[in-house]
């Protein structure tokens, strides 16, 4: 696309049949030939990304060689488990339900988190709910630092700015959730000689919206190159049920409902996809402003936020660094 051109949403159009064929062929090659595994394990959340990944794995290996891991915990939304059952049922995939609450409790996930919350809200105890949120990107230049939102049992909400230590402590404690799920997925992958399929879309992968060694860990990530808009298009083609396709994306990590925009992304995915596409193709903010119904200044803020997230999360993509190379371990064919 020329640098001076105006962006329209159709730049994200894809041929779902061709995209599916390509991913399925690559999955067979990566899992069968490169990894030498005979199927795939994946976590099922009832969201769009894991649903599409599940459908693709079922096409690649046959449903009987896919295992869905449903791993709810006490803060999961009630819809999570029901929709996850809908997914595995739709694609005929075997599954296990692993309630990870006892593991998280034993690791003191909730206790560590709540100890930090009580530094700001001494009354916080069972019956209260919480989430962490960021300021909006649109309309202001405020730094995107985390705020804690708590809700008392009688529905009263409070909002507090976190210190650096509190911010890190709460995120570190909740990261137990993604890492525990991945541990369970690899347990099943090991016993079945399967690979673990990760479920990030391009927005999540590019912007580092994952926990290192948690949901960021996988042997293969079949949809990491697809913008979320394209994942939805693929979902329709693959037969993902409508109730999953119309559900707003959620983090499903904290006890209060939390959108992905509140916690991480600057815009709803439809707009952020277009901004990311424009930024990736060197287009100026003026070229995308109309398409995303934002001012040029706001699109420039989104571009800066994209770059800032890339800088901040770069290390999440890195594997272990060696002081000196070990030449005998050759991964050039990987």
């Amino acid at each position: 696309m020329a640098v001076g051109a105006r962006l329209t949403p159709d730049v994200l159009e894809l041929d779902p049949a061709a995209a599916t064929d390509r991913i399925v062929a690559e999955l067979r090659t990566i899992v069968g030939k490169t990894l030498r595994r005979r199927g795939a394990v994946l976590g099922i959340s009832g969201g769009i990304d894991s649903s599409v990944t599940c459908a693709l794995c079922a096409r690649a290996f046959g449903p009987e060689r896919v295992l869905g891991v449903l791993a709810p915990e006490t803060d999961s939304e009630t819809e999570t488990l029901r929709l996850s059952h809908v997914v595995v049922s739709t694609f005929g995939v075997p599954y296990v339900v692993e309630n990870i609450t006892p593991i998280l409790a034993a690791a003191r996930c909730y206790e560590r988190r709540d100890e930090t919350v009580r530094e700001l809200v001494p009354a916080f105890t069972s019956g209260w709910k919480l989430k962490v949120v960021l300021p909006d990107v649109v309309g202001n230049d405020l730094y995107r630092v985390l705020f804690l939102v708590v809700e008392s049992p009688d529905g009263r909400q409070e909002r507090h700015r976190l210190t650096a230590e509190q911010s890190l402590a709460i995120v570190a404690a909740t990261n137990f959730k993604q890492r525990t799920r991945k541990m369970i997925e690899y347990y099943h992958a090991d016993r079945l000689n399967y690979a673990v399929a990760g479920t990030p879309n391009r927005l999540e992968y590019d912007q580092g919206f994952f926990v290192k060694n948690g949901d960021g860990a996988a042997d293969v990530k079949p949809i990491a190159h697809l913008y979320k808009t394209q994942v939805y298009r693929l979902a329709e083609y693959l037969g993902v049920p409508e109730e999953i396709r119309v559900r707003p994306p959620t983090t499903d990590t904290y006890s209060l409902p939390q959108s992905q925009e509140e916690f991480f992304f600057s815009l709803p995915y439809q707009k952020l996809d277009l901004c990311l596409y424009a930024h990736n193709h060197g287009l100026r903010a003026e070229a995308v402003a109309d398409a995303v119904e934002l001012s040029v200044a706001d699109v420039e803020r989104v571009f800066r936020d994209i770059e800032q997230k890339r800088r901040t999360t770069r290390s999440l993509h890195m594997s272990s660094r060696l002081v000196e190379p070990v030449a005998e371990i050759d991964l050039s064919d990987a």
């Binding site: 300021p135 230049d141 405020l142 730094y143 995107r144 630092v145 985390l146 705020f147 700015r161 976190l162 210190t163 650096a164 911010s167 890190l168 800032q308 800088r311 901040t312």
Partner: protein, 80 residues
Amino acid sequence: MRRFLATNFFLGDDPGSLSGDASLVEAGIIDSTGILELIGWLEDTYGIQVADSELLPENLESIENIVRFVEQKRSARGAA
């Protein structure tokens, strides 16, 4: 200020070469957690309170901006 930044963040091989008007965020020196660390240090060291609405680049993006912001806060407190 430079000592605090050098102690808590990686400023490169020559910390002294960091110019006063360089963006600490765009240079990759501090991120959003770093901003919170910086605020905590400013509040503790200079006895000021940084409001949520003051978490802006014009106040915290560079060493020069931070110095100007702290001086404004301290003189406003002195005048009160």
